[in-house]
């Protein structure tokens, strides 16, 4: 047996790399100094409020006229307020009211918003429409007026007010939950759960709620902060119950005495600011740790670095006399990316040549580095990629070390690109014509009118029946096959010498694929272009390529003419790949009356 156990080798590497990501969100949060500070402040405040009776023996409510505006002393560490109540006691007991009432607001908001969001998002239809209407209605109502009315007419309790506030902000929770549910309910794993016979309640608990969890925690922190602020505002207006100590009521009292004891304003203001700021910063840290690292990737220059020439003499020999018809000569190309504590090489010493009028196939499985090779030639790699080459000759000139503007002059004009997903490579908000015309005008220095005339001709050339209509259409108005024709027309519009096509037919139906390959073949012959075609499909290779390079784990394992590769593959990996193709497999014969197996006979 020569078939290497591909499945097995992949896991080993994947598993070790993934453990880092598996770290719990809490662990990641605790690595953020801001988050640690915020959590510390909030815990301290909570503990101080809860332990208020043990921390002070002063009564926060009972007034004592003898101690009106008493200065700081042994008995009153921060003095006493306008009616002689101890400031420290009021801060501590006020914390109890403020924090507990904020909890009420959060709980009500979630008790209303989460079920409504789950229900509306999962079942959609009429119920969803009614819920959406109700949520819009609540959001349209001015919150502070409702709160004032409730406190004036119903109850002066801060808890009641915060319950009402919870109701008023519940649409924000509803919207958040509903949006998460709508995005996850279309996932295939939810369909699979339905087919597995799970009840709706269980699907929601197991598959949908966990997705909602993370954004909800952030939302809760925000609502908590908002409700502390609103409480203070209401109490400051003098609407709170006189029997409840609260930070807002302290502000109110301090404001009345602002000329005689300005310092009284400082303490409640400080504590309110600390609480709301900690909550807001904590929410931010949570969001960051959920979305992963905040670090910006280290940017490498766009230039291809100097690398060692390949050690093998044969490749060097190939270069010794670069023949006139060699369009592209690459020697010892390397691409690597930063990973935890090192760099991972995805293209490892690739050398290849493309002659004028030649189609080179770059074949391999996913992860073989074939697309990375093509992208590095186009300069399309992400900024953290590091590219080096021993030699990178395009039409006899060294491309290594060319800056961005010099590369841009080559790219588009002399080196063109056809992508895998035609639709996602067209901007949906512009007409096809305007997208095609822009590079033509830039590279060819022609007027808009001339560009249009040229492009209409090309669209006709690539087999579009009604070029004028397509030219003024938007991408969503044409089919995938048509979009690929449009992109090919765009790619050849500046008369390139080299066309790099990355799986140009993989996303297309097989009948369309055949037509697109015919088109590429005829254009290539007509213009004597060099083509690099990246593909995983040996049928496509056999159809269009002259030479083939087979890639495996970043290296080229075999390069041969298409005839040799299929008739006498040299490398074991190539042979394994070729033997995996199903095209020549014998069809399965019709079912001979299969013995009917009873359902569970085989499970014993």
């Amino acid at each position: 047996m020569t078939i290497p156990p591909i499945d097995g080798t992949v896991t080993a590497t994947a598993a070790s790399g993934e453990t880092a990501k598996r770290r719990h969100i809490v662990v990641r949060l605790l690595q953020d100094p801001v988050a640690i500070c915020c959590i510390f402040v909030l815990l301290l405040l909570t503990a101080a409020s809860v332990l208020a009776p043990f921390l002070t023996d002063q009564d926060p409510i009972k007034s004592s006229l003898a101690e009106t505006l008493a200065p700081m002393s042994q008995q009153h560490p921060l003095g006493a307020d306008g009616v002689g109540r101890d400031v420290v006691a009021r801060l501590l007991y006020g914390g109890q009211t403020s924090l507990a009432a904020a909890c009420v607001a959060v709980l009500v908001a979630f008790a209303v918003g989460v079920p409504a969001g789950l229900f509306g998002g999962y079942y959609r239809g009429r119920a969803d429409a009614i819920l959406a209407w109700a949520s819009n209605f609540i959001m349209a109502v001015p919150a502070i007026i409702i709160l004032l009315v409730v406190m004036a007419a119903v109850s002066q309790s801060t808890y009641v007010a915060m319950a009402v506030l919870g109701l008023i902000v519940s649409p924000s929770v509803y919207r958040l939950v509903r949006a998460s549910v709508v995005s996850v309910r279309e996932e295939l794993f939810v369909d699979a759960a339905k087919v597995s016979g799970l009840s709706d309640a269980r699907i929601m608990r197991r598959h949908i709620l966990p997705v909602v969890q993370a954004p909800s925690i952030i939302q809760a922190a925000q609502i908590f902060g908002v409700s502390i602020g609103i409480q203070a505002g209401i109490a400051f207006l003098g609407l709170g119950s006189p029997t409840e100590a609260s930070w807002g009521a302290m502000l109110n009292d301090a404001f009345a005495n602002i000329y005689s004891a300005p310092l009284l304003l400082l303490w409640p203001a400080l504590i309110i600011c600390m609480t709301t700021a900690s909550l807001a910063l904590l929410a931010n840290s949570l969001r960051d740790s959920l979305s992963g690292s905040r670090r910006r990737p280290t940017r490498h220059s766009d230039r291809v670095r100097d690398g060692a020439p390949s050690s093998e003499g044969s490749a060097a020999g190939d270069f010794a006399e670069v023949a006139d018809d060699v369009l592209l000569a690459v020697d010892n190309l390397k691409v690597d990316y930063p990973v935890d504590g090192g760099r991972r090489t995805v293209v490892d010493g690739v050398s290849l040549t493309v002659r004028r009028g030649q189609v080179l196939g770059l074949v391999g499985e996913s992860g073989s580095g074939k697309s990375q090779t093509a992208f590095s030639l186009l300069g399309l790699l992400p900024p953290e990629a590091r590219v080096s080459a021993g030699r990178l000759l395009f039409d006899g000139a060294e491309m290594k070390g060319l800056g961005r503007s010099a590369m841009n002059r080559l790219r588009g004009k002399r080196i063109a690109y056809v992508p895998q997903e035609p639709m996602s490579n067209l901007d949906p908000s512009f007409t096809i014509g305007s997208q095609l015309a822009e590079p033509v005008r830039q590279h060819m220095k022609v007027s808009a009118k001339e560009a249009k005339a040229l492009l209409l001709g090309l669209l006709e050339r690539v087999g579009i029946n009604d070029p004028a209509r397509v030219y003024s259409s938007y991408p969503h108005q044409i089919s995938g096959g048509m979009a690929q024709r449009v992109l090919i027309a765009g790619a050849i519009s500046c008369d390139p010498d080299l066309l790099i096509a990355d799986e140009p037919t993989t996303a297309l139906d097989v009948t369309v694929q055949a037509e697109i390959l015919d088109l590429i073949r005829s254009l290539q012959a007509e213009r004597n272009m060099g083509v690099i075609l990246v593909t995983h499909d040996f049928g496509v290779v056999a159809d269009i390529c002259d030479r083939v390079a087979v890639m495996h784990t970043g290296k080229i394992v075999e390069t041969a003419s298409v005839k040799e590769l299929f008739s006498a593959p040299q490398d074991a990996y190539t042979r394994m790949l070729l033997s995996s193709t199903l095209e020549d497999a014998t069809p399965r014969s019709p079912l001979k009356s299969m013995p009917k197996l009873p359902k569970r006979a085989q499970t014993a």
């Binding site: 295939l188 055949a514 159809d543 199903l582 095209e583």
Partner: protein
């Protein structure tokens, strides 16, 4: 080996009836735009699947092949027509009645990346259908070990998350989930399209191996004629919401009768430069001929 043949059959539906029978099924989606006509995804499709049989459903994008699979699973609404499973009409069932079918009909989806919940471990994914059915946890965990072995995954796979596996391995996990409750029919919706070539043939071999051992039937939806030829006993070709040709795999995928199937076959490239050149020539000749005869408006006629 399992001496399955000696166990007497206990199928509910007599001797010769098909396991699944799709009778003149139409699926219609209301149009999103006001007053424009509704979209007919399926236009009166009929198809039978016998016990132990693989029926390949092949067609291009938009042909309705996936919709037919989803209709069988109860995930697409059947507007008219009937789907019978083991003699029982299942096309008009509601969600709750449908849940009783979960140990009869199962599914393997195309994309092994989105069909497994990324937050659950393999053990959780695989025990879930069993626990729902009332199996005890210890028993379910033992069953998962057996299943992992059946799909040739290492036993220690159960404590890992889906993202730690390659595409081919994920698809094996999805297959194990489908096998959990010993279904008699599995709807496979493009289960190998997202896989690399070498994994593709291995996963197909696994499907065949499981079928030969358990006698499960497959409705195998794919766009790839070579896949369908390899795995199917019978093949149905879909075009614009209709089945235009059915027959034995060897016949339909090598000498098709219908012009559209011929076009599909000629468009699929062969991994052999010389033969591909002649197939290409044949295709170009064929489409030139069709061009004269008119476009594919009604290939069924």
């Amino acid at each position: 080996m399992i001496a399955s043949v000696e166990v007497p059959a206990e199928s509910h539906n007599g001797s010769d009836g098909p396991l699944l029978s799709i009778e003149n099924v139409t699926v219609q989606y209301p149009s999103k735009k006001w007053r424009s006509p509704d979209f007919l995804a399926l236009k009166g499709v009929s198809l039978d699947i016998r016990a132990g049989e693989t029926v390949g459903l092949v067609g291009e994008s938009g042909s309705g092949k996936t919709t037919l699979g989803r209709a069988v699973l109860g995930l697409a609404p059947v507007t008219t027509g009937l789907i019978r499973y083991d003699g029982q009409v299942i096309s008009a069932m509601n969600r709750n009645q449908r849940r009783s079918l979960s140990d009869e009909i199962q599914v393997v989806f195309q994309d092994p990346y989105t069909s497994l919940n990324p937050a659950l471990t393999v053990l959780d994914i695989l025990t879930e259908p069993l626990l729902t059915a009332g199996t005890r946890r210890a028993e379910a965990e033992q069953r998962v070990k057996d299943l992992l072995e059946q799909v040739h995954l290492p036993r220690d796979a159960s404590n890992r998350l889906p993202r730690e596996f390659s595409g081919g391995q994920r698809q094996r996990i999805a297959i194990a989930r489908a096998l959990c409750r010993d279904p008699r029919l599995i709807v496979c919706d493009e289960p190998v399209s997202a896989l690399d070539l070498s994994n593709q043939s291995r996963v197909l071999d696994l499907f065949i191996e499981i079928q030969e051992r358990t006698g499960v039937s497959y409705l195998f939806v794919t766009h790839d004629l070579s896949v369908v030829r390899y795995i199917s006993h019978r093949v149905a070709v879909m075009y614009k919401g209709e089945i235009i040709e059915t027959g034995d795999a060897a016949k339909v995928t090598t000498q098709p009768k219908e012009a559209y199937t011929q076009k599909l076959l000629l468009a699929a490239p062969v991994p052999d430069p010389a033969r591909q050149a002649s197939r290409r020539a044949a295709r170009q000749k064929f489409s030139a001929k069709l061009h004269v005869a008119g476009p594919f408006e009604n290939p069924a006629s």
